[in-house]
Symmetry: C2
Subunit: 618 residues, 2 copies
Amino acid sequence: MRLLTLSLLLRICIAKISLLFTSGGGQLGRMLAYPASLLNIDLVILDPLPNAPAKQLVNPLHSSVNHLDGPFSDSDYVTKLASMADVLTVEIEHINVDALDAAQASSKAIEVHPAPSTLRTIQDKYIQKEWLKARSISIAPFCSVEASEQAVRDAGKSLGYPYMLKSRTLAYDGRGNYVVRSDADAAAALKALGAGPEVDEKSRRKLYAEKWVPFEKEIAVMVVRGKNGEVRSYPVVETIHRDSICHLVYAPLRVRDPKIIAAAKQTAERAIATFEGAGVFGVEMFLLADGAILINEIAPRPHNSGHYTIEACESSQYENHLRAVLGLPLGSTEMKVQSAVMLNFLGPPTSTSLLSRSQPSIDELVKTALNIPGCTVHLYGKAESRPGRKMGHVTIVGASDAEVRTRLRPLLLQLGVDAQQAIDNALAPLPQHRDEHGKLRNGAFNSRNPLVGIIMGSDSDLPVMRDAAKMLDGFEIPYELTIVSAHRTPDRLVEYAKTAVTRGLRVVIAGAGGAAHLPGMVASMTALPVIGVPVKGSTLDGVDSLYSIVQMPRGIPVATVAINNATNAGLLAARIVATSIPSLTAQVETYSARLENEVMGKVDRLEKDGWEDYVVKK
Amino acid sequence: MRLLTLSLLLRICIAKISLLFTSGGGQLGRMLAYPASLLNIDLVILDPLPNAPAKQLVNPLHSSVNHLDGPFSDSDYVTKLASMADVLTVEIEHINVDALDAAQASSKAIEVHPAPSTLRTIQDKYIQKEWLKARSISIAPFCSVEASEQAVRDAGKSLGYPYMLKSRTLAYDGRGNYVVRSDADAAAALKALGAGPEVDEKSRRKLYAEKWVPFEKEIAVMVVRGKNGEVRSYPVVETIHRDSICHLVYAPLRVRDPKIIAAAKQTAERAIATFEGAGVFGVEMFLLADGAILINEIAPRPHNSGHYTIEACESSQYENHLRAVLGLPLGSTEMKVQSAVMLNFLGPPTSTSLLSRSQPSIDELVKTALNIPGCTVHLYGKAESRPGRKMGHVTIVGASDAEVRTRLRPLLLQLGVDAQQAIDNALAPLPQHRDEHGKLRNGAFNSRNPLVGIIMGSDSDLPVMRDAAKMLDGFEIPYELTIVSAHRTPDRLVEYAKTAVTRGLRVVIAGAGGAAHLPGMVASMTALPVIGVPVKGSTLDGVDSLYSIVQMPRGIPVATVAINNATNAGLLAARIVATSIPSLTAQVETYSARLENEVMGKVDRLEKDGWEDYVVKK
């Protein structure tokens, strides 16, 4: 019955507000507007700015559903909004929840998602932490802090230095956070956070403190929660911040320990299950070196770390937010591409700030982005650029992590990310090495984001196994090459095999001689296809290796190639990778055609020279 | 410099018109509006309807760029439009080209894309055919036909019966076409096409005739042409019409002969290269049984057969149309998913038409579609449904043809597509067979859209090779199983191997005994990974087969598994398919865990029973 009202009838209000009365937000509502249009859902948007980003995409069909230009804190506007809508939702949590409560009280018909109580809990970060702690969700140690120097120092005593002193409300994009490094920082910290004695007591910011978390990575999961309580999560992603603002989001997360993926999803889903109301939630987490996961903070709305879902997932976070708040079936959260990255476009520093590093303008970045295959530019239609303001983003999709990072590279270079230092750049592959003749050097595709792992039991196998690497270089398929001995480094073997899938490998090539256990043992501990190369030893002509590799028991296959024929192993790996990167298939066909041409050349030479004078080249 | 004006400054007009002065169109402009918003491009839309579909997504920021409500034939409106815009483009070719010429003459600054001359050539189908014929582009024989019964009969004499009598202009979605089956049809044909004596001479439709083309498939290619003449084409797709209206579009096209893909792209690109001006063009073609390709017709705009590009390609046809007409770099036309289908949602017959089959409402279809993973619903915001009117569409993406067709099936069933008869349904896989215990029957995934081909040299290999099929059934991976003998059916071998890639297979499993040439010969004629199963013969214990299969020369790899171990071949195929369908990886891991549990069960039993009483089960 709900669906009958959906077409052209159902209306939903995106309530958007910036308490600073500038248009600090707006892009999230804008990105909600497109999937709303696909379902013929009318949106009415409340925002102080008449030309707010979201309003630009929603042309009211009737004057009765015209957008409202006003602050969300004004109960008149909220009442008017409620009178026009069936469902009310938000794109920012820094809102006047009392006004939402009033809206719900003023009209029995209106639904508010997520629940006002959820927004109230989340918008005060200290209450949010208390809520999560009481429900045994893993978070870093924290404590409340009074607005006094003594209290700031006491927190340092309790949590240790450095620690994070934070404003309980209105903190985002690094604003409202202060790193307290010693007792001496107390006064400066209070002043920076608007909680010092110079601020009158009424407007002084409330604070709390968090223990410093030495995380290895920042990760995030978008979770969608239906009105019936059903919860679905998107893939775990890696988020990279720069100056405390989201800079890059890589999807999916690659990790060594496969348990981390499941644990992160479970942590995020468990946390969201504790809240009331429907909609999409962003869960930002810390991944520690020992694999532990701590929740950093939760956003009760679509989130920057989920922008990538628009181009990379079967249903975007925005579509799923609409589905959730309308009580429609939730959409698939699966990725439809193999790899994606999101890069934020922030307003560059103004020309008057001479000290800041030179930054390209948004237009210059767009110009670069339009030349990148698989790149979708999102500009937010903001009337004015300000330093650090989110003006747009790009999402780049591709068939592999390496492809996505190669595509991203020109933008990172333009942004002046230092090649040696910045963590994000370390994730991008080096430019292809070419020799003085312009030919690719061997090893050019030995990559930090490999699709193929080439391993061998001993360095004595290298003269044979390097042919596999050469073949992959020819196809420009990223690989890694190393030594893993089944018998001499069994722990390394287990680690290598068990991490292969979640590190992003798609094929393993393993070469070994003699008793040749390596390929079979790897195959028994990974779900990837494993190619075995029997390496010829000093006795038995390699038949020992061949039998050891090919005669695997039922349940654990090894794709065995001819003795010493690592060339064919590389080719087989290329054929396998081509099943997930269709453009490679043409390259494999070109290779086969070249083989044919080579033989046809020999046919001609045999004809011309005659068989008596024909010289067989090795 | 162009880019500098792009952000917020550049404005472009989407000129949309239906000569019937109803809102017959509008969805193409609507789908252009979203990518325009992503690049901060202002659109001004001219349409008779104030609430036209495209206008709903573009809320004018300033009154100076307000949409126009009026007919495109009115030169006042066109002049006003030109005064507001930098670039003018169209979403329908049935327009008053004189008005466009006038617009261009009235303002030197305005650009019109595609060129008015191109629109003039294309909108009269007879002139279009003459144009293509003069440039040696393959089309079916045709001739002009006067509006007289004698002329209609003469055309039948010249082209043979049946033939297509067509209106030269304003013919689309089956309107303006008539199948003339014999001399007796002449009067009825003229009447149906509005060219009979009852119509006054001035408004009588001009006609032409086309030879009947006994096509095997209808195919289409979207081509984008930049302002600099650069041409890029999207994948070749299969289009299926129902009552002469586009019903389904499958991307990419699967064919036996790989040359067809290249030939279709080349034909489409060559045809578009003959026209002037920038933008996206839809090229509809006939594929004949002998592989010949004829152009049916060309649309100088985004096209229904390219809707799938929104969700399935790296840049959509709409984004590329904008890039082309603005002189920006063209975007990638590559698919980012492995398979996609588009299904049109047409307005159902009204309840008064009692004779028509019962059809679900759009709302009922949407309800089904929202439950399908990978399905994106597009409703066009049309105020009124009419029978046969395009009200919306869905695009379904997936990791394989079989997955996409399985996802599509509920919608086809709801639309009442007859399971036995309709060609489109024949493309959907059968529902999974289950036995009385609910277990999948062997052969359940023997599919018309296979990912794995299982072949064997002789039926005597079947008792071994069926284990591969059983394994794939367990993973629900679609396959085909047949006999191909290298030595007894060499032509079939060549045909099988050479068509494997373009038919959509991703892996071939080949089993053979003795001299065992099958796997190696298949591998030499396909770019796919080939898995070889050495089948044990009556002598030599299968070592002959093993050596024949594994000891392949450099350049042609075969992934060899243990003698008679087709189980492992099936598993290896599953692992390879999982590299392009990541969700399968978890299933492979579950399988391995089950093997481990089985052995652990035996450990327990050995402990409990004691080794003296332990019974080894076969």
